[in-house]
């Protein structure tokens, strides 16, 4: 069978060309998150220092990960959690299924976990006859649409209110003309609650796992992870080995960075700390590798394991904002997805590293200082070295250029001139390291496409591509 190669250029074109609404809305909503992030980051005098500390703590933990993972596991077991170990997705899913089967659980609720997404856990459990309900509203919207999350923090951000009104009308029987987010939310709240009460188990992921105490922390805005942990008798948490941090004290730094970077809010509404099972409840933790230890051994890419999944790099990426997250056809999309996905399967995701302008905006906003754009560049080199370069790929920016070269963008750019900064690719403004920044005449790019400009100005340097 011929291997499926993700054609991100085509997928993005489909998203952009579907109408005149989705791309614009998407771009606007994500840009708003980016603006809010800037505002709140600037209100913290020690912001840059926090990023540096977070990065150092993560690098330290990753370079001593065996010790910290063992300590976490030991402490969690001491507190009464049952700790399981899973090498890959299959093992992870089977552990979950065995726990559920032993207790005859047939319905579960889960809060969003990227690791469980990565393991394709839901479809596995469904194939075994277990009913899985997403408790996060955005994630439930995606579930009812039979789609994976399009963004790691805002799973349904690709959908307009009208899309959701249609979807709810079809799936939970709301009035198709009712497009009020408040009443749509209310309808879903009422629809979901009985499922929460019926569930035999609640599943969560974890944002941080603390070696010192064996605690894990889950951050949500809806309190949905807490319902899953507080109501059903059984709580199962999937934790990737890279989530470990050494001490409780470290949370002071990470909690301050996470939600500010993600949505520009001071924290998530709920920051929940689990140190052992609930009274009369059972807690299982599945410590999962699924490729992480291999990534740890990749000299150029191991620091991608520092990622705390805030989504800031996606919100700021001029290419992601226009192409939509589903076009990446991978668990992780946007800039972070570009550097994680090839570690799962380089051939399948060989086009992804070209879906970037290398503008560096992602690296600038990353709260743990991952050099994302450098890593994207390194993947391009590897794609070439492995001989995966398609023959028609003449220049480095083809995929990104196709998105940025979309007429809508240029029309808008012309129409709003300088006011259009938010929709002009951010590298014009944000990257001090970037040679493009110095080219102020870039504002005239509507006359010749960015692609042309790029080819003319950069081709010599990137000849190989």
């Amino acid at each position: 069978m011929k291997k499926k190669i993700v054609n991100i250029e085509k997928n993005s074109a489909d998203f952009i060309n579907q109408d005149n609404i989705h791309e614009k809305e998407h771009d606007k909503n994500l840009w708003n998150a980016r603006v809010k992030r800037d505002r709140i980051a600037q209100s913290i005098p020690e912001w840059e220092e926090l990023k540096e500390l977070a990065s150092k703590i993560k690098e330290h933990t990753l370079s001593h990960l065996d010790e910290y993972v063992s300590t976490f596991a030991e402490n969690a077991s001491k507190r009464g959690a049952v700790v399981h170990w899973a090498r890959d997705a299959q093992e992870h899913n089977e552990i979950v299924y065995n726990i559920l089967q032993e207790r005859k659980v047939t319905e579960i609720i889960k809060s969003k976990s990227m690791l469980q997404e990565e393991c394709e856990m839901t479809s596995f459990l469904e194939s075994k006859g277990i009913e899985v309900t997403e408790s996060d509203l955005g994630e439930r919207i995606q579930q009812l649409s039979h789609q994976p999350p399009a963004h790691i923090v805002m799973p349904a951000i690709e959908k307009t209110t009208e899309d959701i009104a249609q979807l709810f009308a079809k799936t939970i029987g709301t009035d198709p003309n009712d497009t009020d987010p408040h009443s749509l939310n209310e309808a879903m709240r009422n629809n979901a609650r009985p499922k929460f009460l019926r569930a035999g188990a609640g599943m969560t992921g974890a944002n941080f796992a603390i070696a010192e105490t064996g605690t894990f922390v889950v951050c949500t805005n809806e309190g949905n992870a807490d319902i899953g942990a507080a109501v059903p008798p059984l709580h199962i948490a999937s934790i990737g080995i890279e989530k470990i941090i050494p001490k409780v004290e470290d949370l002071g730094i990470f909690i301050r960075l996470l939600s500010r970077s993600a949505l520009g809010t001071p924290a998530t509404q709920y920051t929940s700390h689990f140190t052992g099972p609930r009274k009369n409840g059972e807690l299982h933790i599945i410590i999962t590798d699924n490729g992480r230890s291999t990534r740890l051994g990749m000299e150029d890419f191991w620091t991608s394991l520092k990622c705390i999944r805030c989504g800031a790099c996606m919100n700021t990426c001029p290419v992601y904002r226009r192409s939509g997250g589903l076009s990446y056809e991978s668990t992780y999309s946007g800039p972070i997805g570009i550097i994680l996905s090839p570690t799962f399967d380089l051939e399948k995701y060989k086009e992804l590293p070209y879906h970037s302008t290398l503008c560096g905006s992602c690296s600038d906003v990353c709260p743990v200082k991952i050099d994302i754009s450098n890593q994207i560049y390194k993947w391009r080199k590897l794609v070439v070295d492995k001989g995966y370069m398609p023959s028609n790929r003449k220049y480095a920016l083809k995929a990104a250029g196709a998105v940025l070269g979309h007429p809508h963008l240029f029309r808008t750019t012309e129409a709003f001139a300088e006011k259009a900064l938010p929709i002009v690719p951010d590298f014009l403004i944000y990257s001090s390291l970037n040679p493009w920044t110095q080219e102020r005449k870039m504002f005239s790019m509507a006359k010749n496409t960015f692609r042309d400009w790029y080819i003319k100005n950069r081709k010599e340097k990137n000849d190989k591509y």
Partner: protein, 195 residues
């Protein structure tokens, strides 16, 4: 045969960056805000859609609860100040709190930097009180407010409780058209009573 655990740890050992170039950093102390701590807490709580009231007596508190939630039928409390009308000590299963209109809980402390309150399993008695209740009233002594997350974490001993939660205002979502909606799954409103 080696265990899965050993297998994973061995893979990490083999692959992790070697050497001592990644020491644990020294964490400095950061400058503190000079605002009045209670005012700062209130400001941030309100920004996050919470409300707050200074309550001088139990009676005043009871009147305030009635005023805020005139329709409430079931009021359930883990705080000794207000008994409510559903006895939490008789609740053996978290599902039994499904009918609670107003849940009342005492917070161990608040954080002025962001308006969060720290709730624990011990303080809630049955943790579903914090999540199945339609509305929450949180009791907080104004002197129990710390400045920031560093102080907050130095005050907590995570081993004291199996569960602890920093709660910031009511449940929220912006998953439909990026419009902010309160009361996604958890509490629809959160009021702090300073008392």
């Amino acid at each position: 045969m080696i265990s899965t655990k050993e297998h994973i740890l061995e893979a990490i050992r083999k692959n992790k960056p070697q050497g001592t170039q990644y020491p644990y950093p020294v964490i400095p102390s950061f400058p503190k805000s000079s605002k009045d701590i209670v005012e700062e807490f209130k400001e941030n709580l309100i920004l996050n859609a919470g409300t707050c009231f200074t309550i001088n007596s139990i009676e005043e508190g009871e009147n305030k609860i009635k005023e805020l939630h005139p329709q409430a039928k079931v009021i359930c409390s883990s705080a000794i100040e207000f008994p409510g009308n559903k006895d939490l000590s008789k609740v053996t299963d978290p599902h039994q709190l499904d009918d609670v209109d107003v849940g009342i809980i005492r917070a161990e402390f608040g954080v002025s930097e962001n308006g969060m309150v720290w709730l624990t399993e011990k303080g809630m008695m049955v943790t579903s009180l914090g999540f199945l209740s339609q509305h929450l009233i949180i009791l907080l002594k104004p002197q129990d407010i710390v400045r920031d997350m560093y102080e907050a974490y130095s005050r907590i001993n995570l081993n004291d409780n199996n569960y602890g939660c920093f709660m910031l205002g009511p449940s929220a979502t912006a998953d439909i058209g990026a419009v902010m909606v309160r009361g996604a799954q958890g509490a629809r409103s959160l009021s702090v009573f300073f008392m």
